[in-house]
């Protein structure tokens, strides 16, 4: 039992970072119908903004906020200048995915050109060990888990209690109907890209705090798990993303502990496959069903 709880604890840390990023990823799909493969690069960009601030003397926590802000602006810029024009001209989902892939590669290698292939890290202490109910965390990891919980709660509040959130939900289900009802789709889309971009920057910073290293490929290495979490939970659904992150984060660590560490990533995709076999649209399928994804 004690080993199980230990592994669950490690899984919660991974799940927290996944949760923040998967919510952002799935929001973008929900509103814009765009499978944004540049999300990982945006995470990295946000992490680098935080690094610049931190390496110039700012404490890590306000640096994270700056990183989130930087990624938010970058996401909005990309959405307005690249994705929106393409969406106006191109209807094929595959073509749009390739566009996002191209954007991601351009971003990634632009960052390499600026910062080189070297690794950098934040100026911060790892944090003391904290034992909680049989699990072991560092104080920094507990804060990351707290941030993920706060983001989840804030997202729930936004979607349920605010006009913008309700507009987001409406657009995600049926954009045309939402527009006909007087919702400003363009403005809500901009808000969504700002919000999801901020989440990507925040997740990027949290990821670097966890793995200790930042380089131009940090976010992209994490992207496949983000996609898995978002799809498992039901693409387009923030609640699904939260659930998907938790399932993937915890199951992969438990599998690594009881079976073999080599199966860590494999387990995540086996779980994904099994869920999709039973529910092709993911666990929380409302948005995916409305968009007729995975029919």
């Amino acid at each position: 039992m004690s080993s199980f709880l230990l592994y669950v604890g490690f899984g919660l840390v991974s799940a927290s970072i996944l949760c923040i990023s998967a919510i952002g990823f799935t929001l973008q799909f929900g509103i814009s119908n765009l499978f944004n493969l540049a999300f990982g690069s945006t995470m990295t960009a946000g992490a680098f903004v935080a690094y610049i601030a931190n390496s110039n003397g700012l404490n890590i926590w306000p640096s994270l906020v700056l990183g989130a802000a930087g990624a938010a602006l970058l996401s909005l810029f990309i959405s307005r200048t690249i994705y929106a024009p393409f969406k106006g001209r191109v209807k094929s989902l595959f073509t749009l995915i390739m566009v996002t892939l191209g954007v991601g590669i351009i971003l990634q290698y632009t960052m390499e050109a600026i910062w080189g292939a070297n690794n950098v890290s934040y100026n911060m202490a790892v944090g003391r060990s904290v034992h909680v109910a049989g699990m072991i965390f560092t104080s920094t990891q507990l804060v990351v888990i707290g941030i993920a919980a706060a983001v989840s709660l804030a997202m729930h509040s936004l979607l349920k209690y605010t006009r913008v959130g309700k507009a987001m939900r409406a657009i995600a289900v049926n954009e045309r109907l939402a527009r006909n009802c007087g919702i400003s789709v363009r403005r809500v889309t901009d808000y969504t890209w700002l919000l999801s971009g901020a989440l990507s920057g925040l997740a990027g910073g949290a990821l670097v705090m966890d793995v200790q290293i930042l380089n131009f490929g940090t976010g992209d290495g994490f992207l496949i798990l983000i996609v898995a979490a978002a799809v498992l939970g039901g693409i387009g659904s923030p609640y699904g993303a939260m659930l998907g992150a938790l399932i993937i984060g915890v199951s992969s660590e438990v599998a690594a502990g009881f079976i073999n560490p080599a199966f860590k990533t494999v387990t995540a995709f086996i779980v994904l496959g099994l869920v999709l076999l039973v529910r092709p649209t993911g666990v929380v399928s409302s948005i995916a069903s409305a968009k007729e994804v995975a029919r």
């Binding site: 070297n118 966890d210 793995v211 380089n215 290495g221």
Partner: protein
């Protein structure tokens, strides 16, 4: 196209111009052909001879040594290290007058660490570089794909790949001045046994590069009486290795052997510090690079790093040749970013020595033909009675001009190729001090390595 058909195709051009006589057209054609032939001849001379035979003609073209490695992507440390070796070498060679008056240039060929990218890049190099004389590289991930292509073109290469399958290479154009990964694994096992650490755990990532050391490490360690209490091959760049580390600690190892990229080990050892206190960590030569050392020192703390970490890497004697290399490296800051991080580092001194060896071989052969210089590589590196030991290119050229036979002993120490063109040398054990410097705390001789390998 004949002038007649030209006139028919472009009737406007023919208006108002008298048509040329057949004799005049023939003369123009002949003149064009002659000019073209002259230009072709001048071009091949200017870029140096790559087809064979000596090149004593002028003008003196540039000779190219290609650095074939990953210069972008996750393995880009390989390319940066090669640049840190080749550029200082080229600087010193050119300062000494070049190779028979030819300047040496180092050209980067980016493999991105992937054969799919590497093969077209190298094929383009071979097709479009007329002054190409030699290759430094490639790295382990692309070696099996690229070595046949390069050597088929009769271009010699000196590589630092770690593949065990080239330990007994019969390819005449293949040379390796850096020990294979399996030799590094033997050295790790020897040092752990010497320190009395006979319960060991392995924490390696599952890449080809990292796993190259594992079989020899396991075999030697167990042959010396060691017990392997855990053997973990992990996927790199994960968000957490807490599970793996907790399993490893549960096995109570006295030492952890490791080779992963900086991010993976930094994450893992941060988890180690969370779960308990550190244990001795013995890393392969892949850990004795600035990026890994800084990343892991940050999570362990400088004192723990100095206490618990030891790196095992090929021995580079800190003597005059290394000082010359270091000075040239620092002077190459416009080409090598942050050069000070490579001072005396094996990953950089090996390609440095490779470039110097190629150049001295050309001087010895009085030829810039790759196939001819290849046959002189042993002549300038092998020990022998009556040979003059030289430690720099300038010394070597002066001795050769004086009619002496030479043995080049460079920044990496003696490069003694065995019959399979492999030079393994000795190994050093280093400690990473809190001030960021490396200190040699032990040596493992070539004889000890050979004996441990059963040779």
């Amino acid at each position: 196209m004949s002038a007649v058909s030209g006139a028919e195709a472009h009737p406007k051009r023919s208006r108002g111009r008298p048509s040329a006589s057949p004799r005049a057209r023939l003369a123009r054609l002949a003149a064009t052909g002659l000019v073209g032939a002259l230009l072709a001849g001048c071009g091949s001379t200017a870029h140096g001879d790559t087809g064979g035979g000596s090149n004593g003609g002028s003008p003196k073209g540039v000779l190219t040594i290609a650095m074939v490695a990953a210069f972008s992507g996750p393995d880009s440390i390989d390319g940066i290290a090669e640049a840190a070796g080749c550029y200082p070498a080229a600087r010193l060679i050119n300062q000494a007058g070049g190779v028979m008056g030819h300047k040496i240039q180092c050209t980067a060929v980016d493999t991105r660490g992937d054969p799919a990218d590497a093969i077209p890049a190298v094929e383009k190099l071979l097709a479009t570089t007329p002054g190409l004389v030699a290759v430094i590289g490639p790295e382990s991930g692309t070696a099996n794909a690229l070595i046949p292509i390069v050597t088929k073109a009769h271009i010699p290469l000196i590589t630092n790949d770690g593949l065990a399958n080239t330990d007994h290479s019969t390819n005449p154009y293949y040379w390796r001045n850096y020990p294979a990964d399996d030799v590094g694994g033997v050295a790790l096992a020897l040092w752990a046994h010497k320190m009395g650490l006979d319960n060991g755990a392995l924490f390696f990532d599952n890449s080809v590069n990292a796993q190259g050391s594992v079989p020899a490490l396991l075999a030697t360690y167990q042959r010396l009486g060691g017990h392997v209490v855990a053997n973990l091959a992990v996927a790199p760049d994960g968000t957490s290795y807490g599970t793996e580390i907790s399993k490893l600690l549960a096995a109570h190892p006295q030492v952890v052997f490791t080779e992963t990229d900086p991010q993976t080990d930094a994450t893992a050892f941060a988890n180690l510090m969370t779960l308990g206190k550190p244990v001795p960590i013995y890393g392969t030569n892949a850990t004795v690079i600035p990026q890994w050392l800084k990343a892991v020192a940050k999570v362990l703390g400088p004192t723990n790093m100095a206490t618990y970490y030891r790196g095992v890497e090929p021995y580079a004697p800190p003597d005059g040749a290394t000082r010359v290399f270091n000075k040239a490296l620092l002077a190459s800051s416009s080409q090598v970013p942050q050069p000070s991080q490579w001072l005396g580092q094996e990953y950089a001194t090996a390609p440095y020595d490779a470039a110097v060896i190629f150049s001295l071989a050309m001087d010895s052969a009085h030829s810039t033909s790759p196939s001819v210089l290849n046959s002189h590589i042993l002549k300038v590196t092998a020990p022998g009675t009556g040979k003059t030991i030289v430690t720099t290119y300038a010394q070597g050229v002066a001795a050769l001009k004086a009619g002496k036979s030479i043995q080049y002993v460079g920044a990496d120490g003696p490069t003694v190729f065995n019959r399979w063109h492999n030079s393994t040398g000795e190994f050093e054990v280093v400690q990473y001090l809190p001030n960021g410097q490396l200190k040699i705390v032990g040596l493992i001789s070539a004889a000890q390595l050979a004996h441990a390998q059963g040779g």
